[in-house]
Amino acid sequence: MDSLWSGYVIPGLLILAQILAVLLPVMIAVAFVVYFERKVLAWMALRRGPNIVGPWGLMQSFADFLKVFLKETIIPTGANKVVFLAAPLVTFILSMVAWAVIPFGPGLVVADINVGILFLFAISSLGVYGIIMAGWASNSRYPFLGALRSSAQMVSYEVSMGFVIVTVLLCVGSLNLSAIVEAQRGLWFAIPLFPMFVIFFISALAETNRHPFDLPEAESELVAGYMVEYSSVPFVLFFLGEYANMMLMSAMTAVLFLGGWLPPLDIAPFNWIPGPIWLTAKIVLLLFVFIWVRATFPRYRYDQLMRLGWKVFLPASLLWVVITAGALVAFDWFPK
């Protein structure tokens, strides 16, 4: 009985507490990311943005969530019910699961696993299932077209993302995310691997179906793509999942290229600030770029999107893998 208590119950509760400590801030942050997006877009369009609910409109997202929660859940008659309801759950759960391996500071990580970066890559490549299942199960044309576009798009951009990750791994010599961050002490990978950083960020845009690659939900042609038939709670799950994925991709970019929790310079005023705050600052910066891109660029045409993925990014990232590996061998810079 004693071993049951100390062997299972207490570690179990501890793990549960850690998970909540990561997920609750993430979920609350999602609400503010939505607000942030609306506000930034408004400023860029010389509007005011949400400013009624709460001080400076800060509570706007919560009001919106409450409103959507109170709506009726509509399941279309022709829909495949189980898959239809499983799809938003898949999107939401996957966007939450991946936070387990993100290191917020030295040792501040729920699961410090050896293959952390592969785990992140695996989870992000699974994100397509939520969309493809939603599109198919809705049994309707627009969602189906959205799902087809999305699956082709996400699979294409994953390939170049994989190569970008390989270049970073060559410079680190470990798949562990904490080791990747530690390897950037002194010099962030965004500087020596700048082209890879740009490719990774643009692929992240495509991977999260964000502008200018938001063809799966292009409202002018597909209404709202795979989300057309969703309402109420399933819709909220999609929405939360999508924004959590945006934050996740920003966190991934920050960890891989912007030194994760590390300060930009390891000198006095910078290293007084704790690591989690640095990571948050970098995530916010990248989220701002996500929104900035949305406000600036028109949507890509589908063939242009495919061309960019397969004919530009894939050869470029492949070339950089070769160059990086060559440089590491030539100057004997391999991490020991």
Partner: protein
């Protein structure tokens, strides 16, 4: 230990059940979804034995890439499910035969393990204990150091197969207006615009 056993039986039970559902489900899309569930739980089993790298690769390659393409194709098929079932009895003997051969092979593999336990460690590359080396490194040692030529050769085979598949399916359709970005960029002003003096009352 108890927890590990419970997890093992849970994963295995789900694999077997979803494996059955893959062939029993009426709807091909459901079959693919059950296949994905089976892949996932297989990855779980890999993690249980400490093969974390294989587990992640399993998820990335099979679930993230292969199954997406399956689903992509199966979703677009317009099949009459009843018609699909009708050939079942015709294919039963050959299916059973293949299943039987696989079973016999599995029995052989397991049989050597029990009959002559000393051969088990001796045939492959030596596996370092988990505490000394992460299994990413161990796999790298085996694939890229010990069997580098075989590995490269298999890579070549796959490359040839890939190029073959592309060549076989590539067809040029006439009458399609494709965007040629190089041509657009290379265009000069004097090719695009021509300035002519037009005298009033006469056209061009």
């Amino acid at each position: 230990m108890v927890l590990q056993e419970i997890t093992f039986y849970l994963f295995s039970a789900i694999i077997v059940a979803s494996g059955v559902m893959v062939i029993a489900a009426r709807n091909p899309v459901h079959s693919v979804l059950f296949l994905i569930l089976a892949f996932f739980n297989a990855a779980g089993l890999f993690i249980l034995v400490g093969a974390e790298f294989l587990a992640m690769i399993m998820v990335i390659v099979y679930v993230g890439a292969v199954a997406v393409l399956f689903l992509f194709v199966v979703m677009m098929l317009d099949i009459n499910y009843v018609e699909l079932r009708q050939g079942f009895l015709n294919y039963l003997p050959i299916g059973a035969l293949i299943g039987f051969i696989l079973l016999v092979e599995l029995v052989f593999v397991l049989g050597t393990r029990f009959a002559t336990p000393e051969t088990v460690g001796a045939t492959g590359a030596p596996i370092p204990p988990l505490s000394e080396m992460t299994n990413t490194e161990a796999l790298g040692q085996v694939l890229y150091t010990r069997y580098i030529y075989l590995f490269q050769a298999s890579g070549m085979v796959l490359l040839v197969a890939m190029i073959g598949a592309i060549v076989l399916t590539l067809r040029e359709r006439g009458g399609v207006r494709r965007q040629s970005i190089a041509r657009q960029v290379a265009r000069r002003r004097d090719e695009a615009v021509e300035v002519r003096k037009v005298t009033p009352g006469s056209g061009i």
